[in-house]
Each structure stands twice: as structure tokens, then as C-alpha cells.
């Protein structure tokens, strides 16, 4: 059955390719550190299950140490000149948009078709499997159509990966921190402290404590999913629903959306806020968050008013 193990092998090979290309890049200012950085990520994908918890933990510490020492750095991946690109755009015109549709198209088709193919694909991993299939198909089509040097797929991927840099690791590491927080009981403690912030009997104060708690705890954790059980268990259910008779459907659904307003403001939500700033080569790491403040705050007020006005 094709599922996560196959995807991990594919991802491991991609990272291993970047490690090898970095090692061969004589102009790379941090050649060995960069190669070790990509190589360790490749090792995690290819052999993570065999390393054991302690082995993986040491691997994480080594990756973070390398990042602090300047890995992965930027080398000189072979790519086309801006004149080549302008000429290619002039010659190929709007047909260049077609490959950009391959990955979304495969994602769309895969969502509907893969679960029907019996036991061939893991039904729980349809999204990621579609992504892997789409990436392979699109890469093959582009190689056949534009005929770049054989190493281009590796070098072009490395060019973008070096632009993103160590921030690539941040989403996975933050998800891991969430698990360690869970192990340490952080959520339970916050959930037991949260009700203490509410003055007795005030409906509005209770609603604000709930939506505000959702937003703030989401900013701290980077993920509304982590905040929801804590705030719902601490305030939403005992105070709003059971204490003040609020409708649990409105409290749950809109409370989650109040948390999403926090996600827009959180540097811990790296996938949405930090990685795109790196991908777009913006000098300010928090530029995307700054662009979102003016949307997140009015929407948080709207969600708070929605619960206050319609849940009772």
C-alpha cells in the first residue's frame, strides 16, 4: 500500500540530492555545514524509524546546532539567466501556466479517485500522496518539455530550499514542541488557570475571556487546534455552555475561528507566516504577520460579538 513510508523515501531522496549538490558546489561558503544539514534531514526521512527516540533527539539537536552555525547557507545552484527566462517566456507564452496546473489538478483528481482504487493507496494519506504524485508528474513533464540539464530538478529545488533556509525545519519542530508541551501538561495547567480570569456572572467578560484566550493561546502555540481543547475545556464548556447556557455549536464553531485570528498573528505558525516571508525573499521575517494585523483584529471582534449576540 502506498502511503507515508513511500512519501518519506521520496522526500528523503530529494533532500539527499540537495546534500550531494551542496557538497559538489565549490563556491558554497558553508559547503560542509550545508551538506550536513540537508543530509541529516534526508537521514531522518529515510531512516528515522530505525534511529530510535534518543537517536532522533540527537539528530534534532545537531540540526539546530548546524542552523545556528549558519547552515544551510546559500551556494551557487546552476540556473537559467534572466535573459534565458525572458526568451523562454516569449517563446512559450501562456503554455507555461499549464505545468503550474498539474499539481493542483492531481491534488483535485487524487482526492476523489485515490480512495476508490481499493487497497493500493492509504486512504488516510490521500492529500500527501496526491502531492507526491503531482510533484513527480509535473517534474517529469517539465523535464521532457523544457529539456534542461539532467541535474536541473535537484539544482532548482536547492535554489529555492536555500532561499527558505533553516526556516524549512520550523513547522516540523514546532509541531514537535506541541507534543512536548502536551507531555509536560501545559494545556491542563492553562485550562485550570483560565477560569480565574473571569469576574463572576458577567456574560460579556466570560465570552471575551474565551475568545481572547483562544486567540492568545493560539498565538503562543501557533495552532488553534492546540488551543481549542484547552480553552473549550477551561472556559467554553464549564462557564459558557454549562454555567450560562450558551449554545455549544456556536461556542465551538466560532471559538475555533477566534483562534484562527490568533494564527494570523503568530510567529509560531511558521508554515503560514514565517515560511512565506522566506519564500518571497522579504527582508522582514514578520512582514506577513504585519500585513495580517489589520484583518485579524476586526475579525476577532466580529467573532466575539457573534458568540455574545447569538449563542444565548
Amino acid at each position: 500500500m502506498i502511503g507515508l513510508p513511500a512519501l518519506y523515501t521520496l522526500a528523503g531522496l530529494v533532500f539527499a540530492g540537495w546534500a550531494a549538490a551542496t557538497l559538489l558546489d565549490r563556491q558554497h561558503p558553508r559547503r560542509l555545514r550545508g551538506a550536513a544539514f540537508w543530509g541529516l534531514i534526508a537521514a531522518s526521512f529515510l531512516a528515522g524509524d530505525a534511529l530510535g527516540d534518543m537517536g532522533n533527539g540527537v539528530l534534532v539537536l545537531a540540526l539546530v546546532g548546524l542552523a545556528l552555525a549558519g547552515a544551510p547557507g546559500k551556494g551557487q545552484p546552476a540556473t537559467s539567466s534572466s535573459e534565458d527566462r525572458a526568451a523562454s517566456a516569449a517563446a512559450r507564452g501562456n503554455r507555461l501556466f499549464l505545468p503550474a496546473l498539474v499539481m493542483p489538478g492531481v491534488a483535485l483528481a487524487g482526492t476523489f479517485l485515490l480512495p476508490r482504487l481499493g487497497g493500493l493507496f492509504d486512504p488516510k494519506q490521500v492529500t500527501l500522496v496526491s502531492l507526491g504524485l503531482g510533484a513527480m508528474l509535473a517534474a517529469a513533464a517539465l523535464m521532457a518539455w523544457t529539456r534542461p540539464p539532467a541535474s536541473a530538478a535537484v539544482q532548482e529545488g536547492r535554489r529555492l530550499a536555500e532561499n527558505v533556509g533553516w526556516a524549512m525545519l520550523l513547522p516540523q519542530l514546532l509541531a514537535s514542541l506541541g507534543m512536548v508541551f502536551g507531555l509536560a501538561g501545559v494545556g491542563d495547567i492553562v485550562g485550570s488557570l483560565a477560569p480565574l480570569a473571569i469576574p463572576d456572572g458577567s456574560r460579556l467578560a466570560a465570552v471575551v475571556a474565551f475568545t481572547g484566550g483562544m486567540a492568545i493561546f493560539t498565538i503562543l502555540m501557533g495552532n488553534a487546534f492546540a488551543a481549542f481543547p484547552v480553552m473549550m475545556g477551561g472556559i467554553g464548556l464549564p462557564v459558557l455552555v454549562l454555567g450560562l447556557g450558551a449554545n455549544p455549536v456556536v461556542v465551538g464553531a466560532v471559538g475555533m475561528l477566534a483562534g484562527f485570528c490568533g494564527t494570523l498573528l503568530s510567529p509560531m505558525a511558521a508554515n503560514f507566516n514565517i515560511v512565506p516571508a522566506a519564500l518571497l525573499e522579504l527582508p522582514d521575517r514578520h512582514a506577513v504577520i504585519r500585513a495580517q494585523v489589520g484583518t485579524a483584529l476586526p475579525l476577532w471582534l466580529f467573532n466575539t460579538a457573534l458568540i455574545w449576540g447569538f449563542a444565548f
Binding site: G57, V64, A67, F97, A100, Q155, E156, Q172, G185, A253
Partner: protein, 226 residues
């Protein structure tokens, strides 16, 4: 009144707040926070390292989408960004604000239908959306500063986020809806996913109105009516 629990496991949260406040390297902040909370909860150093390693290995799926980078790079090598700019340069009606408002609406609608994966920062924002709005902003304001150019690109990424966050919860089978349903079920309250997703619609409309208005005003400020 129940007695207060030990607060030491919250050390990790304090480290996160201070670390991001000081703009320290986030990877280092995360590792220190794991040690802060782990040691605060009574784990040993070795146990924290093992817990971090176990969690890192279980969360590898989070980093799988990076395997799409070679495809994006190959498209850029063939001139995709240049073509996106050429198209916009000749379509004067396509202002930066209008492109982003259209994208916001499409992203919300497709996310509401469960199609969250057909767009994203690597798939669409970097190769298509950002070069398009950048080209439109340059065309309409030839004196654009580097700072304004960065702001427009940041707004492209922000628009993708707002679109997916406040569209996806209308789809009944999305993870957040299932999490809410599961939590309420654990408390003995049975709700249907559709009841929950209907309550995502008012905020979706408000998100389009608030963010759309900000985009429209951005277009007015940058010199030309959006």
C-alpha cells in the same frame, strides 16, 4: 476551590514569549522551550531529548510538502514568473488590488469545497500571485519603492492565509470541524458537522469584507483606483 497546579511546566511558554520578543533564532527558542517545559514537569535532560526526537520523527509528514520545490524551481527556470508579469503588464484592468480580491474570493470558495491543497505559498503565491501583483503595482506606480514592493508581496501571502483560514471551516470534513465535533461528543453533546460548518459562514463573509476592503484601500493609496 481546587488547589493550583505547579506552574513550572509553563516555563516553555515564557521562553517562547521572551525568545520571539528578543528575535532570537526560532529553532533555538523551540528547543529551549522544550527543555524548559520538560524539565519544569520533572523530566530528565535525556528524557526531554528522547521526547523531542520521538515527536520530531512522528511529525515528519509536516515537512513532506517541501518535495514540491524542484517543480516550482523548474517552472521558474522556464520563465513562469516572467510570463506572469508579461500577462499582467498588458492587462491594465488587472490592478494589484483587484487580482488579490479575486484570489481571496476563489481561495475561500475552493477551500469551502474542501479543496485546500490546490493553492498555497509554494504552489501558487511564489510562482504566480506574487509576481503578478508585483508587476501590476510596478506598472501602475513606476516610482514604487523597495519597501512598498515588499508590502505588496507580503499582502499576497496574507491574502492566501485569510482565504484558506476563513473558507475551510465551511467544509464539513475538515480537521477543525471534526476536532470540535469530537470534543463536544466527549462531553456528551452530539452535534452534526453541518451544524458547525454553517456557523463558519458569517465569519467567512466578514473576512471577505474586512480583507477585501483593506485590499481596495491599498489600491487607492498606491495611486490608482482599485
Amino acid at each position: 476551590m481546587t488547589t493550583l497546579p505547579s506552574l513550572w511546566p509553563l516555563a516553555g511558554i515564557a521562553i517562547v514569549v521572551i525568545g520571539f520578543g528578543l528575535r532570537a533564532n526560532p529553532l533555538a527558542v523551540v528547543v529551549l522551550a522544550a527543555f524548559g517545559s520538560g524539565l519544569g514537569a520533572g523530566l530528565s535532560v535525556v528524557e526531554v531529548v528522547a521526547a523531542l526526537g520521538k515527536a520530531f520523527n512522528q511529525n515528519r509528514y509536516v515537512s513532506v510538502p517541501w518535495l514540491a520545490l524542484p517543480v516550482i524551481g523548474l517552472m521558474e527556470r522556464a520563465g513562469l514568473q516572467e510570463q506572469a508579469r508579461r500577462v499582467i503588464a498588458s492587462a491594465r484592468a488587472a490592478t494589484a488590488a483587484r487580482i488579490l480580491i479575486l484570489y481571496l474570493g476563489l481561495r475561500q470558495i475552493t477551500a469551502a469545497l474542501g479543496l485546500t491543497q490546490i493553492a498555497g505559498h509554494a504552489q501558487t503565491v511564489r510562482p504566480l500571485l506574487a509576481p503578478m501583483v508585483e508587476a501590476a503595482a510596478e506598472r501602475d506606480n513606476p516610482a514604487i519603492t523597495e519597501d512598498e514592493r515588499h508590502k505588496v508581496k507580503a499582502m499576497a501571502a496574507a491574502t492566501d492565509n485569510v482565504g484558506i483560514f476563513f473558507g475551510e471551516d465551511i467544509f464539513i470534513a475538515i480537521a477543525s470541524i471534526l476536532l470540535i465535533k469530537g470534543f463536544l461528543e466527549g462531553a456528551g453533546i452530539i452535534v452534526q458537522p453541518l451544524q458547525l460548518s454553517v456557523w463558519a459562514i458569517p465569519t467567512a463573509i466578514a473576512a471577505f469584507a474586512v480583507h477585501g476592503l483593506r485590499l481596495w484601500r491599498m489600491g487607492r493609496v498606491s495611486g490608482k483606483a482599485g
